[in-house]
Assembly symmetry: C2
Homo-oligomer: 191 residues x 2
Protein backbone atom coordinates (compact mmCIF):
# COMPACT_ATOMS: atom_id res chain seq x y z
CA UNK A 1 0.00 0.00 0.00
CA UNK A 2 1.32 3.47 -0.87
CA UNK A 3 2.02 5.88 2.02
CA UNK A 4 -0.67 8.24 0.63
CA UNK A 5 -3.32 5.53 0.65
CA UNK A 6 -2.33 4.41 4.16
CA UNK A 7 -2.59 8.00 5.39
CA UNK A 8 -6.01 8.39 3.71
CA UNK A 9 -7.37 5.23 5.35
CA UNK A 10 -5.98 6.25 8.74
CA UNK A 11 -7.57 9.68 8.46
CA UNK A 12 -10.90 8.05 7.59
CA UNK A 13 -10.62 5.75 10.62
CA UNK A 14 -9.87 8.75 12.89
CA UNK A 15 -13.12 10.35 11.73
CA UNK A 16 -15.38 7.31 12.15
CA UNK A 17 -18.25 7.82 14.64
CA UNK A 18 -19.04 4.40 16.14
CA UNK A 19 -21.94 5.91 18.11
CA UNK A 20 -23.79 7.38 15.12
CA UNK A 21 -25.85 5.27 12.74
CA UNK A 22 -28.82 5.11 10.42
CA UNK A 23 -31.47 2.41 10.11
CA UNK A 24 -33.41 1.94 6.87
CA UNK A 25 -36.75 0.25 7.32
CA UNK A 26 -37.95 -2.09 4.55
CA UNK A 27 -35.69 -0.61 1.88
CA UNK A 28 -36.66 -1.44 -1.66
CA UNK A 29 -34.96 1.00 -4.02
CA UNK A 30 -31.29 0.22 -4.60
CA UNK A 31 -30.48 3.77 -5.74
CA UNK A 32 -31.74 5.17 -2.44
CA UNK A 33 -29.73 2.64 -0.46
CA UNK A 34 -26.67 3.53 -2.50
CA UNK A 35 -27.16 7.27 -1.87
CA UNK A 36 -27.60 6.74 1.90
CA UNK A 37 -24.45 4.63 2.11
CA UNK A 38 -22.39 7.27 0.31
CA UNK A 39 -23.68 9.90 2.74
CA UNK A 40 -22.99 7.62 5.71
CA UNK A 41 -19.39 7.20 4.60
CA UNK A 42 -19.05 10.95 4.04
CA UNK A 43 -20.11 11.83 7.61
CA UNK A 44 -18.12 8.98 9.19
CA UNK A 45 -20.76 6.33 9.91
CA UNK A 46 -19.09 2.90 9.99
CA UNK A 47 -22.21 0.72 9.92
CA UNK A 48 -25.68 1.12 8.38
CA UNK A 49 -28.61 -1.01 9.57
CA UNK A 50 -31.51 -2.23 7.45
CA UNK A 51 -34.53 -4.47 7.18
CA UNK A 52 -35.61 -5.62 3.72
CA UNK A 53 -38.86 -6.29 1.98
CA UNK A 54 -38.77 -10.07 1.57
CA UNK A 55 -38.51 -10.10 -2.21
CA UNK A 56 -35.73 -7.50 -2.21
CA UNK A 57 -33.14 -8.95 0.12
CA UNK A 58 -30.72 -9.37 -2.79
CA UNK A 59 -30.06 -5.64 -2.74
CA UNK A 60 -28.32 -6.10 0.61
CA UNK A 61 -25.37 -7.07 -1.55
CA UNK A 62 -25.60 -3.88 -3.54
CA UNK A 63 -22.38 -1.93 -3.86
CA UNK A 64 -22.71 1.79 -3.30
CA UNK A 65 -20.23 3.46 -5.66
CA UNK A 66 -17.15 2.16 -3.95
CA UNK A 67 -18.32 2.78 -0.39
CA UNK A 68 -19.51 -0.81 0.11
CA UNK A 69 -16.10 -1.83 1.27
CA UNK A 70 -15.92 0.99 3.83
CA UNK A 71 -19.44 1.00 5.27
CA UNK A 72 -20.81 -2.24 6.71
CA UNK A 73 -24.47 -3.10 6.16
CA UNK A 74 -26.08 -5.03 9.00
CA UNK A 75 -29.39 -6.71 8.33
CA UNK A 76 -32.11 -7.29 10.95
CA UNK A 77 -35.26 -9.38 10.68
CA UNK A 78 -37.57 -6.83 12.24
CA UNK A 79 -37.53 -3.27 13.54
CA UNK A 80 -37.98 -4.57 17.09
CA UNK A 81 -34.82 -6.65 16.74
CA UNK A 82 -32.94 -3.68 15.28
CA UNK A 83 -34.04 -1.35 18.07
CA UNK A 84 -33.01 -3.79 20.79
CA UNK A 85 -29.54 -3.76 19.23
CA UNK A 86 -29.51 0.07 19.32
CA UNK A 87 -30.67 0.05 22.96
CA UNK A 88 -27.86 -2.35 23.86
CA UNK A 89 -25.49 0.30 22.46
CA UNK A 90 -27.07 3.01 24.62
CA UNK A 91 -28.26 4.99 21.62
CA UNK A 92 -31.09 7.49 21.49
CA UNK A 93 -33.53 6.25 18.85
CA UNK A 94 -35.00 8.90 16.52
CA UNK A 95 -37.82 8.23 14.05
CA UNK A 96 -38.32 10.48 11.02
CA UNK A 97 -42.02 11.04 10.71
CA UNK A 98 -44.14 13.38 8.64
CA UNK A 99 -46.43 14.39 11.48
CA UNK A 100 -47.41 17.64 13.17
CA UNK A 101 -46.06 16.42 16.49
CA UNK A 102 -42.56 15.69 15.15
CA UNK A 103 -39.80 18.05 16.31
CA UNK A 104 -37.62 20.10 13.92
CA UNK A 105 -34.49 17.99 13.28
CA UNK A 106 -32.25 20.95 14.17
CA UNK A 107 -33.44 20.88 17.79
CA UNK A 108 -31.92 17.46 18.58
CA UNK A 109 -28.58 16.92 20.36
CA UNK A 110 -26.68 14.56 18.03
CA UNK A 111 -23.53 14.49 20.14
CA UNK A 112 -25.33 11.76 22.13
CA UNK A 113 -25.04 8.19 20.79
CA UNK A 114 -27.77 8.28 18.13
CA UNK A 115 -29.49 6.14 15.55
CA UNK A 116 -31.75 7.68 12.92
CA UNK A 117 -34.62 5.53 11.62
CA UNK A 118 -35.80 6.18 8.05
CA UNK A 119 -39.09 4.94 6.64
CA UNK A 120 -39.95 3.13 3.47
CA UNK A 121 -40.37 5.30 0.37
CA UNK A 122 -43.99 4.33 -0.22
CA UNK A 123 -45.39 3.68 3.26
CA UNK A 124 -43.23 5.85 5.52
CA UNK A 125 -42.01 4.80 8.95
CA UNK A 126 -43.88 1.88 10.60
CA UNK A 127 -46.07 2.08 13.69
CA UNK A 128 -43.67 -0.41 15.24
CA UNK A 129 -40.78 2.01 14.81
CA UNK A 130 -42.79 4.98 16.05
CA UNK A 131 -43.77 3.06 19.18
CA UNK A 132 -40.16 2.21 19.97
CA UNK A 133 -38.59 5.62 19.24
CA UNK A 134 -37.59 8.20 21.85
CA UNK A 135 -38.52 11.06 19.57
CA UNK A 136 -40.12 11.83 16.18
CA UNK A 137 -38.28 14.35 14.03
CA UNK A 138 -39.06 16.13 10.77
CA UNK A 139 -37.28 18.23 8.18
CA UNK A 140 -39.58 21.25 7.72
CA UNK A 141 -40.93 21.87 4.21
CA UNK A 142 -42.61 25.05 2.96
CA UNK A 143 -43.95 23.80 -0.38
CA UNK A 144 -46.69 21.52 -1.62
CA UNK A 145 -44.99 18.09 -1.77
CA UNK A 146 -45.68 15.80 1.15
CA UNK A 147 -42.21 14.37 1.59
CA UNK A 148 -38.59 14.52 0.56
CA UNK A 149 -36.77 11.62 -1.03
CA UNK A 150 -35.63 9.29 1.78
CA UNK A 151 -31.91 9.63 0.99
CA UNK A 152 -32.26 13.41 0.90
CA UNK A 153 -34.00 13.51 4.30
CA UNK A 154 -31.37 11.17 5.80
CA UNK A 155 -28.53 13.33 4.48
CA UNK A 156 -29.95 16.57 5.86
CA UNK A 157 -30.21 15.09 9.33
CA UNK A 158 -26.85 13.30 9.22
CA UNK A 159 -25.04 16.47 8.10
CA UNK A 160 -26.65 18.34 10.99
CA UNK A 161 -25.26 15.61 13.28
CA UNK A 162 -21.86 15.99 11.59
CA UNK A 163 -21.93 19.77 12.14
CA UNK A 164 -22.73 19.40 15.84
CA UNK A 165 -20.14 16.66 16.36
CA UNK A 166 -17.49 18.68 14.58
CA UNK A 167 -18.23 21.58 16.92
CA UNK A 168 -17.85 19.17 19.86
CA UNK A 169 -14.43 17.97 18.59
CA UNK A 170 -15.70 14.44 18.02
CA UNK A 171 -13.84 14.05 14.71
CA UNK A 172 -10.14 13.47 14.26
CA UNK A 173 -9.57 11.11 17.19
CA UNK A 174 -9.84 7.37 16.81
CA UNK A 175 -12.84 5.85 18.58
CA UNK A 176 -13.52 2.86 16.33
CA UNK A 177 -12.76 -0.69 17.58
CA UNK A 178 -9.22 -1.72 16.86
CA UNK A 179 -10.33 -4.98 15.18
CA UNK A 180 -12.41 -3.03 12.65
CA UNK A 181 -9.53 -0.64 11.99
CA UNK A 182 -7.13 -3.53 11.37
CA UNK A 183 -9.58 -5.13 8.94
CA UNK A 184 -9.92 -1.90 6.92
CA UNK A 185 -6.17 -1.35 6.88
CA UNK A 186 -5.69 -4.93 5.67
CA UNK A 187 -8.50 -4.94 3.07
CA UNK A 188 -7.73 -1.40 1.93
CA UNK A 189 -4.23 -2.52 1.09
CA UNK A 190 -5.54 -5.48 -0.93
CA UNK A 191 -8.60 -4.07 -2.73
CA UNK B 1 -61.48 25.02 -4.06
CA UNK B 2 -61.82 24.37 -0.32
CA UNK B 3 -60.76 27.19 2.05
CA UNK B 4 -58.05 24.86 3.46
CA UNK B 5 -56.54 24.22 0.06
CA UNK B 6 -56.67 27.90 -0.87
CA UNK B 7 -54.89 28.77 2.40
CA UNK B 8 -52.27 26.09 1.75
CA UNK B 9 -51.53 27.38 -1.76
CA UNK B 10 -51.37 30.97 -0.52
CA UNK B 11 -48.94 29.97 2.24
CA UNK B 12 -46.76 28.20 -0.34
CA UNK B 13 -46.79 31.31 -2.56
CA UNK B 14 -45.77 33.49 0.40
CA UNK B 15 -42.74 31.27 0.93
CA UNK B 16 -41.56 31.14 -2.70
CA UNK B 17 -38.06 32.54 -3.24
CA UNK B 18 -37.94 33.92 -6.81
CA UNK B 19 -34.24 34.77 -6.41
CA UNK B 20 -33.10 31.25 -5.47
CA UNK B 21 -32.70 28.48 -8.01
CA UNK B 22 -30.84 25.35 -9.01
CA UNK B 23 -29.44 24.39 -12.40
CA UNK B 24 -28.90 20.72 -13.31
CA UNK B 25 -26.31 20.18 -16.01
CA UNK B 26 -26.88 17.33 -18.47
CA UNK B 27 -29.25 15.44 -16.22
CA UNK B 28 -29.82 11.82 -17.15
CA UNK B 29 -31.30 9.99 -14.17
CA UNK B 30 -35.02 10.67 -13.71
CA UNK B 31 -34.98 9.62 -10.04
CA UNK B 32 -32.35 12.26 -9.27
CA UNK B 33 -34.31 14.92 -11.11
CA UNK B 34 -37.40 13.91 -9.19
CA UNK B 35 -35.58 14.12 -5.85
CA UNK B 36 -34.15 17.58 -6.66
CA UNK B 37 -37.55 18.92 -7.68
CA UNK B 38 -39.14 17.71 -4.43
CA UNK B 39 -36.37 19.43 -2.46
CA UNK B 40 -36.74 22.60 -4.54
CA UNK B 41 -40.45 22.72 -3.73
CA UNK B 42 -39.74 22.07 -0.04
CA UNK B 43 -37.36 25.05 0.28
CA UNK B 44 -39.54 27.35 -1.85
CA UNK B 45 -37.80 27.36 -5.25
CA UNK B 46 -40.36 28.18 -7.95
CA UNK B 47 -38.29 27.25 -11.02
CA UNK B 48 -35.56 24.67 -11.68
CA UNK B 49 -33.25 24.97 -14.68
CA UNK B 50 -31.72 22.13 -16.67
CA UNK B 51 -29.84 21.06 -19.74
CA UNK B 52 -30.33 17.50 -21.02
CA UNK B 53 -28.20 14.88 -22.62
CA UNK B 54 -29.59 14.74 -26.17
CA UNK B 55 -31.06 11.26 -25.89
CA UNK B 56 -32.70 12.01 -22.54
CA UNK B 57 -34.73 15.11 -23.23
CA UNK B 58 -37.96 13.16 -22.74
CA UNK B 59 -37.36 13.19 -18.98
CA UNK B 60 -37.99 16.94 -19.04
CA UNK B 61 -41.62 15.91 -18.89
CA UNK B 62 -41.05 13.75 -15.87
CA UNK B 63 -43.40 14.30 -12.97
CA UNK B 64 -41.72 14.51 -9.58
CA UNK B 65 -44.13 12.97 -7.07
CA UNK B 66 -46.78 15.60 -7.38
CA UNK B 67 -44.41 18.56 -7.33
CA UNK B 68 -44.30 18.93 -11.11
CA UNK B 69 -47.32 21.18 -11.05
CA UNK B 70 -45.75 23.47 -8.45
CA UNK B 71 -42.16 23.73 -9.64
CA UNK B 72 -41.51 24.85 -13.22
CA UNK B 73 -38.70 23.22 -15.18
CA UNK B 74 -36.96 25.50 -17.65
CA UNK B 75 -34.76 23.93 -20.28
CA UNK B 76 -31.69 25.56 -21.82
CA UNK B 77 -29.63 24.43 -24.80
CA UNK B 78 -26.25 25.02 -23.18
CA UNK B 79 -24.74 26.03 -19.86
CA UNK B 80 -23.61 29.33 -21.42
CA UNK B 81 -27.21 30.12 -22.36
CA UNK B 82 -28.39 29.17 -18.86
CA UNK B 83 -25.78 31.32 -17.16
CA UNK B 84 -26.59 34.37 -19.25
CA UNK B 85 -30.18 33.99 -18.06
CA UNK B 86 -28.96 33.86 -14.42
CA UNK B 87 -26.77 36.93 -14.98
CA UNK B 88 -29.74 38.81 -16.39
CA UNK B 89 -31.47 38.10 -13.06
CA UNK B 90 -28.50 39.48 -11.10
CA UNK B 91 -27.78 36.12 -9.46
CA UNK B 92 -24.50 34.96 -8.01
CA UNK B 93 -23.59 31.74 -9.83
CA UNK B 94 -22.18 28.91 -7.70
CA UNK B 95 -20.66 25.73 -9.11
CA UNK B 96 -20.48 22.57 -7.01
CA UNK B 97 -17.10 21.05 -7.65
CA UNK B 98 -15.11 18.28 -6.01
CA UNK B 99 -11.83 20.18 -5.93
CA UNK B 100 -9.40 21.26 -3.23
CA UNK B 101 -9.90 24.90 -4.12
CA UNK B 102 -13.69 24.80 -3.62
CA UNK B 103 -15.04 26.65 -0.57
CA UNK B 104 -17.09 24.95 2.18
CA UNK B 105 -20.76 25.48 1.24
CA UNK B 106 -21.54 26.85 4.70
CA UNK B 107 -19.34 29.90 4.07
CA UNK B 108 -21.52 31.34 1.30
CA UNK B 109 -24.11 34.11 1.77
CA UNK B 110 -27.30 32.66 0.27
CA UNK B 111 -29.45 35.66 1.11
CA UNK B 112 -28.07 37.13 -2.15
CA UNK B 113 -29.90 36.18 -5.37
CA UNK B 114 -28.30 32.80 -6.04
CA UNK B 115 -28.28 29.93 -8.48
CA UNK B 116 -26.62 26.62 -7.62
CA UNK B 117 -25.15 24.61 -10.53
CA UNK B 118 -25.05 20.81 -10.11
CA UNK B 119 -22.95 18.50 -12.28
CA UNK B 120 -23.78 15.35 -14.12
CA UNK B 121 -23.71 12.16 -12.04
CA UNK B 122 -20.96 10.52 -14.07
CA UNK B 123 -18.80 13.39 -15.31
CA UNK B 124 -19.33 16.08 -12.69
CA UNK B 125 -19.65 19.77 -13.48
CA UNK B 126 -18.39 20.92 -16.91
CA UNK B 127 -15.37 23.14 -17.56
CA UNK B 128 -17.81 25.50 -19.23
CA UNK B 129 -19.76 25.87 -15.98
CA UNK B 130 -16.62 26.24 -13.88
CA UNK B 131 -15.35 28.98 -16.16
CA UNK B 132 -18.59 30.95 -15.84
CA UNK B 133 -19.14 30.55 -12.09
CA UNK B 134 -18.37 33.18 -9.45
CA UNK B 135 -17.37 30.55 -6.92
CA UNK B 136 -16.79 26.79 -6.55
CA UNK B 137 -18.31 25.21 -3.47
CA UNK B 138 -18.09 21.76 -1.89
CA UNK B 139 -19.84 19.75 0.81
CA UNK B 140 -16.98 18.40 2.95
CA UNK B 141 -16.70 14.61 3.25
CA UNK B 142 -14.59 12.68 5.78
CA UNK B 143 -14.86 9.17 4.33
CA UNK B 144 -13.52 7.28 1.35
CA UNK B 145 -16.18 7.89 -1.33
CA UNK B 146 -15.38 10.56 -3.87
CA UNK B 147 -18.78 12.16 -4.10
CA UNK B 148 -22.30 12.34 -2.77
CA UNK B 149 -25.36 11.60 -4.85
CA UNK B 150 -26.22 14.76 -6.82
CA UNK B 151 -29.68 15.17 -5.27
CA UNK B 152 -28.19 14.76 -1.80
CA UNK B 153 -25.52 17.41 -2.43
CA UNK B 154 -28.12 19.80 -3.87
CA UNK B 155 -30.39 19.32 -0.84
CA UNK B 156 -27.65 19.98 1.70
CA UNK B 157 -26.77 23.29 0.04
CA UNK B 158 -30.38 24.35 -0.57
CA UNK B 159 -31.35 23.69 3.05
CA UNK B 160 -28.37 25.79 4.18
CA UNK B 161 -29.75 28.54 1.92
CA UNK B 162 -33.19 28.01 3.47
CA UNK B 163 -31.76 28.28 6.99
CA UNK B 164 -29.99 31.55 6.20
CA UNK B 165 -32.99 33.02 4.42
CA UNK B 166 -35.29 32.07 7.27
CA UNK B 167 -32.94 33.87 9.66
CA UNK B 168 -33.11 36.90 7.35
CA UNK B 169 -36.96 36.89 7.38
CA UNK B 170 -37.11 36.14 3.66
CA UNK B 171 -39.96 33.64 4.04
CA UNK B 172 -43.58 34.43 4.73
CA UNK B 173 -43.90 37.52 2.53
CA UNK B 174 -44.99 37.31 -1.07
CA UNK B 175 -42.21 38.11 -3.56
CA UNK B 176 -43.29 35.95 -6.50
CA UNK B 177 -44.68 37.59 -9.67
CA UNK B 178 -48.40 38.10 -9.47
CA UNK B 179 -49.00 36.35 -12.83
CA UNK B 180 -47.34 33.17 -11.54
CA UNK B 181 -49.34 33.32 -8.32
CA UNK B 182 -52.59 33.67 -10.25
CA UNK B 183 -51.70 30.70 -12.45
CA UNK B 184 -51.01 28.49 -9.40
CA UNK B 185 -54.20 29.62 -7.68
CA UNK B 186 -56.15 28.82 -10.85
CA UNK B 187 -54.48 25.48 -11.65
CA UNK B 188 -54.40 24.43 -8.00
CA UNK B 189 -58.15 24.83 -7.88
CA UNK B 190 -58.57 22.67 -11.01
CA UNK B 191 -55.98 19.90 -10.59
C1 LIG C 1 -41.07 9.35 0.73
S1 LIG C 1 -41.08 9.37 2.46
C2 LIG C 1 -42.52 8.43 2.90
C3 LIG C 1 -43.78 9.04 2.43
C4 LIG C 1 -44.97 8.29 2.97
N1 LIG C 1 -46.03 8.41 2.01
C5 LIG C 1 -45.41 8.84 4.33
O1 LIG C 1 -46.51 9.38 4.40
O2 LIG C 1 -44.70 8.72 5.31
C6 LIG C 1 -39.86 8.17 2.88
C7 LIG C 1 -39.13 8.46 4.14
O3 LIG C 1 -38.29 9.59 3.95
C8 LIG C 1 -38.14 10.27 5.17
N2 LIG C 1 -38.60 11.66 4.98
C9 LIG C 1 -39.08 12.19 3.84
N3 LIG C 1 -39.36 13.50 4.03
C10 LIG C 1 -39.04 13.78 5.30
C11 LIG C 1 -39.09 14.97 6.09
N4 LIG C 1 -39.52 16.12 5.59
N5 LIG C 1 -38.68 14.88 7.37
C12 LIG C 1 -38.23 13.73 7.88
N6 LIG C 1 -38.16 12.58 7.19
C13 LIG C 1 -38.56 12.61 5.91
C14 LIG C 1 -38.93 9.50 6.21
O4 LIG C 1 -38.07 8.55 6.80
C15 LIG C 1 -39.96 8.80 5.35
O5 LIG C 1 -40.48 7.65 5.99
C1 LIG D 1 -21.69 12.05 -8.47
S1 LIG D 1 -21.11 13.65 -8.54
C2 LIG D 1 -19.97 13.66 -9.90
C3 LIG D 1 -18.80 12.78 -9.71
C4 LIG D 1 -17.81 12.95 -10.83
N1 LIG D 1 -17.14 11.69 -11.00
C5 LIG D 1 -16.81 14.06 -10.51
O1 LIG D 1 -15.62 13.74 -10.38
O2 LIG D 1 -17.18 15.22 -10.41
C6 LIG D 1 -22.44 14.52 -9.30
C7 LIG D 1 -22.61 15.93 -8.86
O3 LIG D 1 -23.04 15.94 -7.51
C8 LIG D 1 -22.57 17.11 -6.86
N2 LIG D 1 -21.77 16.69 -5.70
C9 LIG D 1 -21.54 15.43 -5.29
N3 LIG D 1 -20.82 15.43 -4.16
C10 LIG D 1 -20.59 16.73 -3.84
C11 LIG D 1 -19.91 17.39 -2.77
N4 LIG D 1 -19.33 16.71 -1.79
N5 LIG D 1 -19.89 18.73 -2.78
C12 LIG D 1 -20.49 19.43 -3.76
N6 LIG D 1 -21.15 18.86 -4.79
C13 LIG D 1 -21.20 17.53 -4.83
C14 LIG D 1 -21.77 17.90 -7.90
O4 LIG D 1 -22.66 18.79 -8.54
C15 LIG D 1 -21.35 16.79 -8.85
O5 LIG D 1 -21.06 17.30 -10.13
Amino acid sequence: MSPERLARINAMLDNRQPDLSVYLEYMHKPHNLSAVIRTADAVGIPEVHATWLAEQSHISNHKASGSGQWVDIRTHKTTTEAVSHFRSQGMQVLATNLSDSAVDYREIDYTQPTVLMMGNERDGISQEALGLADQDIIVPMVGMVQSLNVSVAAALILYEAQRQRQGAQMYGQRRLDDAICQRHLFEGGHP
